[in-house]
């Protein structure tokens, strides 16, 4: 583990040098990939200190760390807050113990509530909670109750995802063998729109397909992805996008570490986006956001009118009521949010 952290920090130093050469600055740092807070305290410290050395933050830098309720204690959260982490994301997932079991999560509802209150105690004023709906056997009532309980916590940001049953997970095998019946599409869709309406009524902005925030608390880091702005991923399996080149690191942490420490690089795949790829990807990613794609901005960025490039996709999407124009911006309709793939594939 120590070796892996060393490798990440070395990669950070190398990338930081590259950035300086290109005169680019970091606007946000996101420490994610599940549960960095499960690191032993001293390693967590080593990592955070090292990264902030390579990418010195300023007053405006957003620094987020992901966490799991079961791995949080006062000491490590206090340390993180004091070292300059500005935003904490907690993977609460559900506020029903039986449903957490269904998700094969090891934390409990009381772990989550406890974690949230510690986070406030140590001074976090920008907290996200991750939620999952559409869990097998979850009823609309269960979900409404979870939302109610979350709203009582009043987090600044909420990410709510419909459960995707991914191949290879324990849940996938139980569904496959008939032990669990996945949530049906209609209920999941109803839960989605319920969430949207409920959270909007509470003052949250539905600013991306699965993300809600109080005004001013939109995650700046994720907006980088959705605007298709450059980003650098550090660590095994991490993706970067810089100067129209997408690359991903080796997936296995051991092999990744060896490669970085021996050769200073660990790229598994590198793909240069053509201008056409970049344009379509930018539109597809930006359509995820409530502000959508701004025609003027597109023209400025690519030197060509969006409508000229994508007239068919746009016409088809608007005819099918998946897309709509709003003051020079193209965006998903309310109906189109849950059917966004149908609209987006036309841009390929």
């Amino acid at each position: 583990m120590k070796r892996y952290i060393d490798a990440i920090l070395l990669e950070a130093r190398i990338q930081s040098e590259n950035l300086k050469k290109q005169q680019m600055r970091m606007s946000s740092v996101y420490i994610g990939g599940g549960t960095p807070t499960c690191l032993p305290y001293n390693l967590l410290r080593t990592m955070l200190t090292g990264i902030l050395e390579s990418f010195p933050p300023d007053i405006n830098t957003e620094i987020t760390i992901e966490s799991n309720p079961g791995t949080i204690d006062y000491k490590n959260l206090k340390y993180l807050r004091d070292s300059g982490v500005t935003r904490l994301s907690i993977g609460i997932q559900s506020l029903k113990d039986d449903l957490l079991l269904r998700l094969h999560r090891t934390h409990s509802v009381s772990d989550s509530l406890n974690a949230f209150s510690i986070a406030r105690d140590v001074g976090f004023t920008n907290i996200n909670v991750d939620l999952i709906y559409g869990i097998p056997d979850q009823t609309m009532k269960d979900w409404q109750e979870t939302l109610d309980a979350v709203l009582k916590l009043a987090p600044e940001h909420i990410s709510a995802y419909g459960l995707m049953i991914e191949e290879g997970t324990p849940l996938w095998s139980s569904v496959n063998s008939g032990l669990e019946i996945p949530c049906n599409e209609d209920l999941q869709t109803d839960m989605y729109y319920f969430t949207k309406d409920r959270l909007e009524a509470e003052g949250y902005r539905h600013y991306e397909i699965s993300n809600f925030a109080l005004p001013g608390y939109e995650c700046r880091h994720n907006m980088v992805y959705w605007q298709l702005q450059p980003y650098i991923g550090l660590g095994a399996g991490a993706h970067s996008y810089i100067n129209n080149v997408r690359r991903s690191n080796l997936l296995d942490p051991l092999i990744y570490s060896d490669s970085i420490l021996n050769s200073g690089g660990a790229v598994q795949e590198r793909e240069r986006f053509s201008k056409a790829d970049e344009m379509s990807t930018a539109v597809i990613m930006q359509l995820r956001t409530a502000q959508g794609v701004e025609e003027e901005e597109f023209k400025k960025r690519f030197g060509i009118a969006m409508y000229g490039v994508f007239s068919d996709a746009i016409e088809k999407g608007t005819a099918r009521k998946l897309l709509e124009w709003n003051k020079g911006r193209l965006r998903l309709t309310r109906y189109g949010l849950m059917l966004s793939n149908e609209a987006m594939k036309e841009f390929l």
Binding site: E185, T189, G233, M285, L337, L339
Partner: protein
């Protein structure tokens, strides 16, 4: 080679009873194939034939055999297809032989098609050598099987030869029986030339290669030949025999089997069943030919992409060079665009052609449900033959519809008589006869509409009899029936390629099944899609494909961009393979849905 040392024979057997293995052993024994070139089932040269264990095309091979008495013989083995679809090819092979080796599995007994082919051979006055094969199997009962054959055909007990083609046991006895029991051909080499064409294939260098059996006279390279049916004249560019590769000879004379190449470019100019004679000194009368084969089953074949139309035409033309029984003509479907209406001998034939088109020509095809040929009498007194349900006249114009009926022979263990009869009755069968072959095995005869056995009859028969029953059928005529056209409407629009003809009593049930099946096959669209089955204006079934509500990648961050693009690309690709009917996207397999209902 004098005619008296020639023996022409074929092997009659059911699938899996060991015909190909026996043929392989005979080829080995006569050293026609070196060990090095020995592959399993030498005569089945198409990959498809080997994979499916069936013979599709008739073939011939010339063998040299030194008998126990020390005399050398020429044996011509003419292979026969065993499947009911290819009964016509069997009759062609038989006409070129004086004898037949009947191979029956010692653990199974004789099967329906074998019996049919055997009767055909006996009608042709062929000498039959009954061989009980696979005697090495633990459950072999050669005695019982030979007794059954004695009872049905009247063989004498001493006529039977017991073999295991697998181990080679008894193969010599078969060869000895061939030379001792089968008469040599009785032709006259000095008479005017008469030679029967029993098959052909197309060679891109030599043109049509006609497989022939010389009955009278003698034929030399360079001769001017005349085809008696068409009157066309060609010059023989090459003669030869099959060993089994083609080997050139200078002449072929009475009794011999071989091939003729005459630079003929069109397979239709040398019709199978025609008699070849010499242009200068022609024979007076042709040999009795074959009845013209008529395709029994039709379906539409369409390229998935409209641009594949020309490729499909070329491929069909190529296949037709080797398979005169395949017919096709262009047709247009509102749903599927430009394609071809193709006629086949039967379902297996259809299956094989489709598979060859996809495999050998790399085409992607949409196939519509198979149909038989109906005869329609209109109120104006006209008679029409209709092979495509969508071409049916309006209901009010029809006075009567006749459909093809076959006489089916089913051999089954007596234990399963009940289920088999039930099946036949359920398919509008008319009971004709029941005959005990022995205590345990029964031959049932039913007259059945061909359309009723087209789809899954054979599979159902097999499953109801635990795989024991066998089936043979022959066309006996068209009979009037109360048939209606069942239309399928998707999103309110009739889809011509999904219409089918069906008996009035079954129409509603079939309509319900089809609508249900289509609901499963058609993916959800952005709106509700009603599927209706209708007879005329009357809707008999309705289902709805509910609109899709969710198609979204909910988590999409920095590492998901490629994944997202791939997902969208995959969805787009899937869409490309669908047919667009109005606003609705329909996958190709929907057009075969009718084959998939129970």
């Amino acid at each position: 080679m004098s005619g008296s040392a020639i023996r022409n024979f074929c092997i009659i057997a059911h699938i899996d009873h060991g015909k190909s293995t026996l043929a392989d052993r005979i080829l080995e024994e006569t050293a026609s194939i070196s060990r090095r070139d020995m592959t399993d089932q030498v005569l089945d040269s198409m990959d498809l034939e080997r994979e499916r264990g069936i013979t599709i095309k008739a073939k011939a091979v010339r063998l040299t055999y030194r008998s126990r008495s020390g005399k050398e013989y020429i044996l011509n083995l003419i292979d026969t297809p065993g499947h009911v679809d290819f009964g016509y090819e069997v009759s062609r092979s038989l006409a070129a032989c004086e004898g037949a080796v009947l191979v029956v599995d010692a653990s199974q007994g004789i099967e329906a098609q074998t019996l049919a082919n055997l009767y055909l051979a006996m009608e042709n006055d062929l000498v039959i050598i009954p061989v009980i094969n696979k005697i090495d199997l633990p459950n072999a009962d050669p005695k019982e099987v030979s007794k059954e054959l004695q009872d049905i055909i009247g063989f004498n007990p001493e006529e039977f030869i017991f073999t295991s083609a697998k181990t080679g046991q008894g193969v010599h006895e078969v060869l000895e029986a061939i030379i001792n029991r089968i008469p040599s051909p009785q032709g006259n080499s000095d008479a005017p030339l008469k030679t029967l064409i029993f098959d052909s294939h197309f060679d891109s260098y030599k043109g049509v290669i006609a497989y022939t059996r010389v009955v009278d006279g003698c034929l030399n390279t360079g001769a001017q030949i005349k085809l008696m049916a068409t009157g066309k004249v060609f010059e023989v560019s090459e003669l030869g025999v099959f060993k089994p590769e083609m080997e050139e000879t200078q002449s072929l004379s009475a009794g011999e089997v071989g091939y003729i190449a005459a630079g003929v470019k069109n397979v239709r100019d040398i019709r199978v069943g025609d008699t070849v004679t010499l242009a200068e000194s022609p024979a007076e009368n042709p040999l009795p030919g074959y009845r013209q084969v008529k395709p029994m089953v039709f379906c539409g074949l369409y390229p998935v992409e409209a641009s594949g139309y020309e490729n499909l035409r070329n491929a069909l033309t190529r296949l037709q060079l080797n398979d005169a029984s395949l017919v096709f003509e262009p047709e247009v479907s509102a749903a599927l665009g430009f394609g071809f209406r193709c006629g086949f001998l039967g379902l297996l034939h259809m299956d094989i052609i489709q598979e060859r088109l996809e495999r050998e020509f790399d085409l992607s095809l949409i196939t519509t449900a198979p149909s038989v040929v109906y005869q329609v009498k209109t109120i104006h007194g006209k008679r029409q033959e209709i092979d495509n349900p969508s071409k049916f006249p309006e209901v009010w114009e029809i006075q009567a519809v006749e459909e093809p009926v076959v006489r089916a022979a089913i051999i089954t263990p007596a234990d399963y008589i009940g289920p088999v009869m039930e099946l036949c009755q359920g398919r509008r069968g008319e009971y004709k006869n029941m005959e005990y072959l022995n205590e345990n095995r029964v031959k049932l005869t039913y007259d059945l509409p061909l359309s009723e056995i087209l789809l899954d009859f054979f599979d159902k028969l097999k499953s109801r009899t635990r795989g024991y029953a066998s089936l043979d059928y022959e066309y006996i005529g068209h009979l009037e029936s109360d048939l209606v056209k069942l239309d399928i409407l998707i999103n309110g629009e009739p889809v011509d390629a999904l219409s089918c003809m069906i008996h009035r009593d079954k129409a509603q049930e079939r309509g319900r099944q089809l609508a249900e099946k289509l609901r499963e096959i058609i993916p959800r669209q952005l709106f509700d899609v009603p599927i209706q089955a209708a007879i005329g204006a009357q809707i008999v079934a309705r289902e709805t494909v509910r609109a899709v509500r969710k198609n979204v990648l909910e988590k999409c961050y920095g590492g998901d961009v490629s994944r997202k693009r791939k997902l969208l690309e995959k969805q787009k690709e899937g869409k490309r393979r669908m047919k667009q009917l109005g606003n609705v996207e329909i996958p190709q397999e929907a057009f075969m849905a009718v084959l998939k209902v129970d």
